[in-house]
Symmetry: C2
Subunit: 375 residues, 2 copies
């Protein structure tokens, strides 16, 4: 998407050199910094230190990391040993994230097919580009399906802006381009449909206030930042037409784990008859699970994320303490929105109601795989 | 309540001098500072600058302000003119707050009954003390009624701690003592019932993280600070037994306006079969209103409250910017929880279901007053 009129992806190949370039998201929304990644170790640190984050982007980054690893491996005593160690390193960067592991394994399988080292390096490069392009393409398709929902509301509102609420960042910054929850919004914006986005700030890490607001602002999409407490009031007063969020994991029955607080917005949407959609590339489905609330483990994160808030102060990024130093803090990263509160799932193959039967109609190849009923 | 073992109220008379002392809440939870108020102008600034806040405490502070005003007026050309100007000043300090106005009017009526200036000053002092004592006494009674709810849950849980979630600060810092939502909790704690409080941080001003956590910590009540996004997840996992919040305005039908975000917690409580109570001294009822969502005006506050977060940084209180500087922000102060989501109202006269008939059973003197149906 665009930053001050110029098109960017979140990750790309340097024009001339064997270097990967990324937007260092740790400094957003205050500073726009592009980092060069020269080695697999640079890539490891970029994932570990959250210079890049978001499922799609982490996968693409790990994919490019394997290309850099293959280049480095060419000079080593054992190409295979170095590549294998690099794969382990990249997988360990964010242990709970699934996408880096998936991308690394895909690379290992692809690279194994090369006959010479030069061929292997070439395959690694092409595979990395393919992983990134596919991620962008899936999001683009998802947007093309999702826009029908916005179009329908726009028609009903006769040109009045469609007000869409979103939580956390499921924007292009979390993927290679377009985003998941934002893809239908960007598509509507491109087609000249009037949209306005309510951006939940999304405590504790403020990915809404810091990332979603930044990307909408730079692309030119009208938006307003609100505290996470505000959505219910807006919905009571007909100021929200539609909710779209991303997801971190969705069961085959349609229960969606997403950033903590998503469930509260889904409840408010239901109470006020507002359609609540979850947008996801199908890689986010966990075909093994049926009961999200019971079966999806919820990560507990550091209390420092709640106690301290990061932001810009006198031109520098600083943190301020907002609780008594001695008060205990709990920090659950995600919650699960039961399928009964979700009007539909927006995927790269189309939109479907959030239940096992309809999901499997869209993904029939998963019919027999996956969940085994436990009696 | 207690601060490091010593009993405090939020406002009190100096032991020997004609001076009012308050806890300056702007510096909590990081610094404990007591301010001396010598003049009605000091009192005006204490209310305006939010050194004191909370309905009950603002009323008590304005009451004491009128005593200081009467003392000052004694030296002026016209006692009445000075007192009247002082009354106007105090009422203007926080225009949307009802309690300062109520306390000032009560003082004006009382003072008018004095025959000499000395008598008027004496009446003003006694009335100020009475207003403060009544506020504390109403909260104490409210706690004595509310504790029955906690006791019942404690019995069912056979000694396991009762987990109570609260939003914002409806604690003793918002009143003269005990608080509203916290009064049953402090009472349970005194009686040795095991309680644990989930404290919503309450963006944008973080009164939960800053004030509620601080007062519970200092009194010794077990608690855990959470982001406003977290309560739904806790309720889904049986980690909350009871929700108690305060209120800013409650209709005669039981709809409750309270700090923004309260409605979302009420929805989650309903979805998980958890009792949701609102605690209020009866002065919080607005007998004129029947439909809270439609009829209670919701204050929009400065966008700076959302964009900047205040906290401790290198030993000083600083603010950090968390959004892009150019992103628009909306800041609604309150939302309305419909009576249908409220299990009961805890008042100084007892607990009642949140509907007009049952509320009026407890306050029969309001039966004929108030609301006029508009056809």
């Amino acid at each position: 998407m665009k930053i001050k009129g110029q098109h960017f992806r979140t990750i790309w190949l340097h024009e001339t050199d064997p270097v990967i370039q990324i937007i260092d998201q740790r400094f957003l929304p205050h500073q726009f910094i592009i980092n060069d990644l020269h080695t697999v170790n640079d890539v490891f640190m970029a994932i570990r230190d959250m210079q890049v984050r978001g499922a799609g982007l982490m996968g693409a980054t790990a994919g490019f990391g394997m290309w850099l690893a293959a280049r480095e491996a060419a000079d080593k005593e054992s190409f295979e040993d170095f590549l294998s160690a690099a794969a382990g390193l990249l997988k360990s960067a964010r242990p709970t994230a699934v996408n880096p592991e998936w991308a690394v394994n895909r690379q290992l399988l692809a690279i194994a097919k090369g006959n010479t080292i030069d061929e292997k390096i070439k395959i690694a490069k092409n595979t990395a580009i393919m992983i990134a392009d596919e991620d962008a393409e899936y999001c683009r398709r998802l947007g093309n399906h999702g826009i029908t929902i916005i179009e329908e509301i726009a028609k009903r509102k006769k040109g009045e802006p469609v007000n869409i609420l979103t939580h956390c960042n499921a924007g292009w910054l979390a993927f290679v381009d377009y985003g998941s929850a934002t893809a239908p919004i960007y598509e509507a914006f491109e087609r000249g449909i009037k949209v306005h986005v309510w951006v939940d700030e999304t405590r504790p890490r403020n990915q809404g206030a810091g990332l979603t607001a930044w990307e909408l602002l730079n692309h030119g999409v009208p938006h307003t930042v609100i505290t996470d407490n505000t959505g219910g009031h807006l919905m009571q007063h007909q100021m929200v037409d539609l909710v779209i969020t991303g997801a971190d994991r969705v069961t085959r029955s349609g229960d969606a784990a997403n950033k903590i607080g998503t469930y509260l917005k889904a409840l408010a949407a239901q109470d006020n008859n507002i359609p609540f959609y979850v947008a996801l590339p199908s890689s986010t489905f966990d075909w093994q699970l049926l009961d999200g609330v019971k079966e999806i483990p919820i990560e507990e994160r550091s209390d420092a994320e709640v106690k301290y808030v990061y932001g810009l102060c006198d031109g520098e990024i600083k943190k301020v303490l907002i609780t008594p130093q001695e008060s205990p803090v709990a920090n659950y990263g995600f919650d699960v929105t039961p399928a009964r509160l979700i009007k539909g799932l927006i995927t790269e193959r189309g939109i479907c109601p959030a239940n096992e039967k309809d999901i499997l109609k869209l993904f029939p190849e998963q019919m027999k795989a996956g969940y085994i009923k436990r009696d």
